[in-house]
Amino acid sequence: MEVTITVNGTAVTRDVEPRMLLVHFVRDELGLTGTHWACDTTNCGACTLWVDDTPVKSCTMLAVMADGHTVRTVEDLDTGGQLNPLQEGFMQEHGLQCGFCTPGMLMTGQWLLDRDPDPDEATIREAISGNLCRCTGYENIVRAVRWAAEHGNGEAEATDDDASADVETSDEVTA
């Protein structure tokens, strides 16, 4: 069945089986392998991407359910190769080790920051509680989100270096 989904700003049309999972659609049909698969049961969040600006665990959503909708993946976070503040925060605060949960964490974290540019620790912990990480013990992920809040994400003191922070309006296409 034919679907048209706007992925990272570009409309793509594909003929897919009705049972194809969204995670397989972005990974196998579009080659966007930044979105990972890890559990099958919506528990771990490694497959988190956005559907219409809301984080969704794409291992339990069918691609056909995204027909006519927009999807955003981790590949769309940076701008012209420059990391956005949250990505930079993950690097600065060592918020990743093996990197497998990272794309999902970033998509959840970015969603939080776009709604709450200055979240406290408890808010961050609750927001990422649907994303599992086996390496970091979460501490540095929390710090990474805080780093982004303090360095140019949303309303906080944007500088020239942080100009790429305005990810919401980014029309960069990486699909």
């Binding site: 930044g34 890890a38 559990c39 990743l96 093996c98």
Partner: protein, 812 residues
């Protein structure tokens, strides 16, 4: 082994001296440095096995057994083969035809690849379907008809040796029971005497339940046998690419030089990715059969049900002491559940891994352990989940027993530990079971943890909380739990340690390019540890080359020297030493070349980071970059000195390194619900000098979360028929950000005297050390001497009602 340096001797608090920075702002040498790896991971540009895509690639899926013990009368694959898009269906019979239906395990046992006779655990691999994509393969797998004849299962290790227990390994000629081995360490007579003379003896039974490393990335492989060149390339999730290559050569009879194992980015390992799994072998055979690349990625249920588990140790400990709390002896009897095949990954000489380090961090002369291992109808494996070859179980045993003794003596557990800890002047210290601890200052680490925690104030607060509870004003109780651990990492000396005959030494090659940039090739394999960063820092520290100018190559057997890989926290102690040794060799050679260029005697030169200069005339010198160019140029070198600036080594560690630490966990327990909340966790770790403190702290954070997971949530439960009750993350619970507190870390620095740069491993310290701290804390709160992990609300409740022990079959 050749080293030109003595390790640093400063063993005081962390060195905070300023490190010189490179033009890129990185420390030249040790220090906090952002990771090189992050740039690709943060952009979704990592290259994990599941991201590998080759032209014409097919996908294989495994059909798994639905029951734990069953004879297979027949398998009919015809309907599956008839499905459009299916290229082949492999069964045990197919593999038998090419001699690959069974394979050796890492413990010299054999393991079924695809079942030929009978199923021995639920989830065992029965058939492998290769199709155009996973959807088709899954459809076809459901069309395979298997005639199973159920057999009674052994799900409880304690029943494995019963007279009427079903024989699990009837494939082994002459075998009549389910016993794998009986092994002991220590001095039994001396220990018995210590117990006979003791004022106090405390005995406690405990189970370290079966858990699973559950890395976020499951296991998988992409195999491509090129029919023209005869070369087999396997992209695979392995922590030990070189060991895998050799095993493929041995198992499949393929020439080793025609096998290339590539371990690209690995999404976490924790010991889960040490062994070879049937799926890997099936993807290889599948590629040979179809002539195309074949990918296999297991699903989560397959990962949890069939791949290397951890623990499953039934332990009975006894601790002896004088009336005033001087520990005089420890003995332990263990029943070890190894599952259906003995697939434990550990040095050959030590069937129970390093469990006999169970004497821990204390000073007493008498200790003895006996470990009996049995087959059960459960998945094989057994050394995994950051356990340092079973030191996790050992530390849990001793740290629980010390708390049990404190309870018996009505002594403060901190005081009891402080009284019995080894003293700094006792190092190097030989334990009653033969380990030689290299260095340590244990009282200082414990004192630091107590100070950070504000121990006295916590005890005062606890008394107030207890008073309110006793008065009926609150349902809450508060617990303070301690643990002190000694790890042994960096396996290991070749004469003592090998896996399947392969010595545990690691190679390393360093090449300085003409312009002074460098490439370092290492045998170990990162699964998130950040080797591309820290190994560059080691070379940078020793040669003064900026770390951004050093490329670290790993995870490709065609492009790295042989070595046994990354597990047991061995990368830094073994390969890190190798990287230091090759750097020293480069430095020594650079000295000769620089002296030639400067027309002086090499003995007249002095080293400063990045440069040899003439003693007394510091302006006359040559940077390592200038020397590198000269080494590749027309400079006439002394006789016997070759051009270029390369070095290689194979590092055979003289001993393990012994990191240690003191942990304190503060919990709040709601007695009305049994719910435990970890309020604080204080962790003081000593792993010697820290190459990159940021990465060390990250490793500790992760291990502490593991400890909370094991202590409070994680368990692989089975019912009496051997049905696995934790085959998804809905049942096998991992800690989230909500269960983890904000960790409070501290450090002391005691260098290893035998490591070329004094460093010790740290990757598993926190996983080893934290579970007993959490358990001790919860039990301290509820006033129960012992209860088995995981301390779920139901388990806490039961413990308070007088039923503290788990069995294999407990269902929660």
């Amino acid at each position: 082994m050749t080293t030109t340096d003595n390790p640093p001797q400063s063993d005081t608090e962390a060195d905070t001296t300023e490190v010189p920075l490179s033009d890129a702002g990185n420390p030249i040498g040790f220090g906090r440095m952002l990771r090189k790896e992050d740039a690709r991971f943060l952009r979704g540009q990592g290259n994990y096995v599941d991201d590998v895509r080759l032209p014409g690639m097919l996908t294989g899926v495994i059909l798994r057994a639905p029951m734990a013990h069953a004879r297979i009368n027949s398998i009919d694959t015809s309907a599956a083969e008839a499905v459009d898009g299916v290229h082949a269906v492999l069964t045990g019979e197919t593999l038998e035809g090419v001699g690959l239906s069974w394979m050796p395990t890492l413990s010299n046992d054999t393991q079924s690849v695809l079942v030929t006779d009978k199923v021995r655990f639920q989830g065992q691999e029965v058939a492998f379907v290769i199709a155009d994509d996973e959807y088709i393969a899954q459809d076809a797998a459901q069309r395979i008809v298997v005639d199973y004849e159920p057999l009674p299962a052994v799900a409880d290790a304690k029943q494995a040796l019963a007279d009427d227990a079903p024989l699990i390994r009837d494939d082994v000629e002459g075998r009549t029971d389910n016993k794998i081995y009986d092994w002991e360490a220590g001095n039994k007579d001396e220990t018995d005497r210590a117990f006979a003379d003791a004022d106090v003896v405390v005995r406690q039974e405990m189970l370290y339940p079966r858990t699973h490393p559950a890395p976020m990335e499951t296991c998988g492989s992409v195999a491509h046998m090129d029919p023209v060149t005869g070369k087999l390339v396997i992209w695979t999730t392995t922590q030990a690419p070189h060991a895998h290559r050799t095993l493929y050569a041995l198992v499949a009879g393929l020439p080793e030089h025609k096998i290339q194992v590539i371990s690209p980015d690995i999404g976490g390992g924790f010991g889960n990715k040490v062994g070879i799994y049937p799926g890997y072998v099936c993807s290889v055979v599948g590629s040979i059969v179809t002539g195309k690349p074949v990918k296999w990625m297991e699903d989560r249920a397959g990962n949890l049900m069939s791949t290397s588990f951890a623990r499953d140790y039934h332990m009975t400990g006894e601790i002896a002491s004088t009336a005033d709390g001087t520990i005089t002896g420890l003995r332990v009897d263990v029943l070890a559940d190894h599952g259906a095949f003995n697939g434990v990954a550990q040095p050959t000489k030590y069937p129970a891994g390093f469990f006999h380090i169970f004497t821990g961090s204390y000073d007493y002369g008498a200790a003895h352990c006996n470990v009996r291992a049995v087959y059960t109808n459960k998945a094989p494996g057994g050394v995994a989940y950051a356990c340092s070859f079973r030191i996790t179980e050992a530390v849990y045993l001793v740290e629980r027993m010390v708390d049990c003794l404190a309870d018996e003596l009505d002594m403060d557990p901190a005081e009891l530990r402080m009284k019995n800890l080894l003293q700094p002047e006792q190092f190097p210290y030989t334990t009653p079971t033969g380990w030689e601890y290299d260095s340590g200052d244990y009282p200082r680490a414990l004192q630091k943890a107590l100070d950070m925690a504000g121990y006295e104030a916590l005890r005062d607060e606890q008394a107030d909380v207890r008073a309110a509870y006793d008065n009926g004003e609150s349902t809450m109780l508060m617990g303070i739990g301690l643990s002190f651990f000694t790890e042994g990492v960096g396996a290991g000396p070749r004469k003592h340690m090998d896996i399947l005959g392969l010595g545990m030494a690691d190679g390393c090659e360093l090449r300085i390019h003409p312009t002074g940039k460098a490439i370092l090739r290492i045998s170990v394999q990162s699964q998130g540890q950040g080797h591309e960063t820290t190994f560059a820092q080691i070379v940078s520290q020793e040669l003064g080359i900026p770390p951004e100018d050093i490329e670290v190559v790993h995870g490709d057997t065609d492009n790295t020297p042989f070595g046994l890989g990354t597990y047991g926290s061995r990368s830094t102690p073994v390969s890190g030493a190798a990287a230091a040794v090759v750097s020293h060799r480069i430095r020594d050679k650079a000295r000769i070349i620089a002296a030639t260029a400067l027309e002086c005697d090499p003995d007249d030169l002095e080293w400063e980071p990045g440069r040899w200069f003439v003693r007394g005339a510091p302006e006359q010198g040559q940077t390592i970059q200038e020397t590198a160019f000269a080494a590749h140029g027309s400079l006439e070198l002394p006789e016997g000195v070759e051009g270029h600036l390369d070095a290689q080594t194979v590092y055979n560690p003289p001993n393990l390194t012994y990191p240690f630490g003191a942990y304190i966990c503060v919990t709040d327990v709601d007695t009305a619900t049994g719910e435990v909340k970890v309020r604080r966790f204080i962790a003081v770790d000593d792993c010697g000098p820290r190459i990159n403190p940021m990465i060390v702290e990250g490793q500790v954070h992760g291990g502490l979360a593991d400890g909370i997971g094991m202590a409070l949530m994680e368990v692989m439960a089975f019912d009496r028929d051997g049905n696995h009750l934790g085959g998804s993350f809905m049942d096998y619970l991992l800690p989230t950000s909500m269960e983890c507190p904000s960790w409070e870390l501290g450090e002391t620095v005691t260098p290893s005297p035998h490591h070329p740069i004094g460093v010790k491993g740290v990757g598993e310290s926190a996983t080893v050390g934290s579970p007993p701290a959490v358990v001790n804390s919860v039990l301290d709160a509820i006033g129960v001497r012992h209860a088995d992990m995981p301390l779920t609300p139901a388990a806490v409740w039961r413990a308070m009602q007088g039923s503290p022990l788990r069995t294999d079959l407990a269902i929660e």
